[in-house]
Every structure is written in C-alpha cells, then in structure tokens.
C-alpha cells in the first residue's frame, strides 16, 4: 500500500479523460439542452400568442357578424319599402290603364253606334225609297228626288 508511479499514470489518464470530456462531450450535450430549452420557450410563447390571436379573431368575427346583421336588416327594410312603392305604383298604373281602356271602349262603342245609326238610316232611307218606288213607280225620278230623300233620312235619325 504505497504511493508510486501508478499515481502519475493515473493522473495522465485523468487529464486525458477530462480533456476529452471538455472538448467532445460536454459542449454538444449542453448545446442540445440549451437549444431544447429555447425551443420549448419559443413553443410556449407561440402558443400564448396563438391563443391571443384566437381571442382577437373571435372578437372581430363577432363584430363583423353584428355589422352584417345590421346591414341585412337595413337591406330588408329598404327592400320592403321599395316593394310597397312598386305595388302602389303598379296599382296606380293599372287603374290608369283600366280607365284608358274603358275610355277607349266607350269611344269605340259610341263610334259603332254612330256607324250603326248611319247604316240604319241609309237602309231605312233605301227601304223607304224602294217602298216609295214601288208605290209611285213611274212618276218618281231617282235623281230628281234625291235631296228630298236625304232630308227625310236625316229627320229619321
């Protein structure tokens, strides 16, 4: 049990081991640990940020929805108003059209009545003329009494 040269050998081995650890083992492992720490911190920060963004987006969505609702209500109101107007307008137009048609029909009826009366007058005068012709036969000259006949026909109307 004595101290001897083994000590020196052991010290050399020890120095070598420490040097190897210091150069090749400690730095990469610690670097990896630090990197992971940074990654985790980044991840947590990103998650927090994401959550905040979600909150913000929700708020925004709510406001957009509200706005849209308001807008749609406005549009519906406007449309209803417009529809009422259109209905009123078309009612008015229809009434006008109806009156116009009625007037036209009345005018036509009047005209047709006039025409019929004219025709009737002509026919009656022709009938009367024929009757007179038959009665009078020879004495009556058509051309000579035309104006007389016309006057008679006029009095018939």
């Amino acid at each position: 049990m004595s101290i001897n040269a083994t000590l020196i050998g052991q010290m050399i081995t020890f120095t070598l081991l420490v040097w190897l650890t210091m150069k090749y083992i400690w730095p990469p492992i610690i670097a990896a640990l630090e990197e992971r720490k940074a990654k985790i911190a980044d991840g947590l920060a990103a998650a927090e940020k994401g959550q905040e963004e979600i909150k913000l987006a929700e708020k925004k969505a709510k406001s957009v929805l509200k706005e849209a609702k308001e807008q749609s209500a406005e549009i519906i109101n406007l449309a209803q108003k417009r529809a009422n107007e259109v209905v009123e307008e078309s009612k008015l137009q229809a009434r006008k059209e109806g009156e116009r048609l009625l007037d036209a029909a009345k005018a036509q009826i009047e005209q047709e009545m006039l025409q019929a009366r004219e025709n009737l007058r002509k026919e009656v005068s022709a009938l009367a003329l024929r009757a007179a012709e038959q009665i009078l036969k020879e004495e009556i000259d058509k051309a000579k009494h035309q104006s007389l006949l016309d006057k008679t026909a006029e009095q018939l109307g």
């Binding site: 004595s2 001897n4 400690w26």
Partner: protein, 254 residues
C-alpha cells in the same frame, strides 16, 4: 480459493495489486488497466451520444446521458458562480469515472481474479478506488487545479496575501500560514482517503463474506451489496461536489 494459505492469505491475495517495477517506479497494472478501460467506456458511451445528440425528442441513451449531465450541471451552477469551461466537464468526468471505479466492487470478488489467474496473473485487484494511487491521482489533480485557479484569480500577490494574512491579520503571519497550509493540504488528503477508505472497507467486507460458508454468503452478501449501491453512488457524488466546492472557493476573492 479460501483454502490456499488460509483466510489471511486469501484476503491479502485479493488486496495485493498486480505490479511491475521496484520502489517508486512500481506500476499497479490492474489499477491502470481497469481505470483506463472504465474511462474509455465512459468516453465511448458519452461520445457516441454526444455525436448524435438532438434537441428534439431524445432517445433512451440520450435521455440517460442528459439526466447525468443536467444533474452535474445543476450541482455546478448551485455552487460555482463564476464562468469556467473546465469545472463542469471536470465534475462530470470525476462523477462518472469514480462511479464506474466503485461499481467494479459489485462484481463477484473472485470473478475477475479467477479469470486473471487462468491467464497467468498471480494478483488482481479490480477496484481502482481501493488503490491509494488511484484516489490520490484524482485529489492531487484537483489540488493542482485549486492552486492554479487561486493564483489565476487572485494573482500571485493576492494568493500570498491570503495564505499569510487570513484569518488573523498580518501580525500573526506564521500562524496564519501554518493554518492555511494545513487547510489546503487537508483537502486532497481527505478527498483521497475518504474515497479510498470507503471502498477499501467495502471490498474487504465483500472478501470476508466470501470467506463464510456458502449458505451464509447470500444472506449477508445481498444486503451488503444493496447497501453498497448507495455507498458507490454517494462516494462518487461526494468527490464531485467537494471538487466543485474547493474550486469555487479558489475562485472567490476575499
């Protein structure tokens, strides 16, 4: 084996190193060989992990290595507040190496010596920490580092001043110096002897248990082995922590 030369012979045989050379230039081949192999094992394993280390999801081996590295790093950061590239790797090396040394104690006491004797080696002591040369090699290296850092941090005059003028002021200079020298020398000696004593005694108990009748051996060997797991880890840990403490004291300027 117990019959060869009686119990004393068996014990002595087990605690005698395989050596070559004479006087100071004796070399304990078993201590050198086993500590080098264990050191190589440590470097190989940690290097293989460090080469493919990832900051993503770690594998099984990386997890294990990270656990040890973080454990050592925490110890260093708790105690040592300066900046040093050396102390943490030094602490890691000491912890792992001493742990591996000590854990050689868990092998059956006769296993490796028997294999050695088959290969023609007369003696073999497999636990490097039962060799004073092994433990003193560590503690003296630490002692030199303490010396080196004391002078580096405080300057040569600061170091002399601390050695002579504390704790009792410049008027008691010789007394201070004596006190300080004893204090500094006590560090490596206590470090080395603590480790050596614990492991030597542990190994001795294992050898004594091996001398008992075979029926009794597991009865005592098993509890002692379990208890020794604690001793192995604890001694490695103590050696590491004290190294850190001594080196951080060397860094402090009074």
């Amino acid at each position: 084996m117990a019959s060869e030369g009686g119990a004393t012979g068996y014990i002595v045989h087990h605690l005698t190193p395989l050596s070559v050379g004479e006087g100071f230039w004796t070399l304990h081949l078993d201590t050198l060989f086993f500590s080098a192999v264990l050191g190589g094992l440590f470097i190989w394993f940690f290097k293989s992990v460090a080469d493919r280390v990832t900051s993503g999801v770690p594998g099984l081996a990386q997890n294990f290595v990270e656990m040890i590295v973080e454990f050592v790093d925490t110890q260093v950061k708790d105690t040592f507040h300066g900046r040093s590239e050396l102390i943490a790797p030094l602490a890691l090396t000491i912890f792992c190496w001493v742990f591996l040394w000590n854990s050689m104690d868990m092998l059956p006491v006769d296993l490796l010596p028997m294999i050695g004797s088959l290969m023609g080696m007369e003696f073999m002591r497999v636990v490097p920490s039962t060799d004073l040369n092994g433990t003193f090699a560590l503690s003296l290296s630490v002692f030199f580092l303490i010396f080196f850092y004391s002078i580096k941090v405080k300057g040569i005059f600061g170091f002399i001043k601390e050695m002579t003028c504390t704790p009792f002021g410049p008027w008691l200079m010789p007394f201070n110096l004596m006190l300080k020298v004893v204090e500094e020398l006590a560090k490596p000696i206590s470090l080395a002897l603590r480790l050596f004593g614990n492991l030597y005694a542990g190994e001795l108990v294992f050898i004594l248990i091996a001398l008992l009748p075979p029926a009794l051996q597991p009865l005592l060997g098993f509890p002692w082995a379990i208890f020794h797991i604690l001793v192995i880890t604890l001694q490695a840990f103590i050696f590491m922590v004290l190294t850190i403490v001594y080196l951080s004291l060397a860094h402090e300027d009074h």
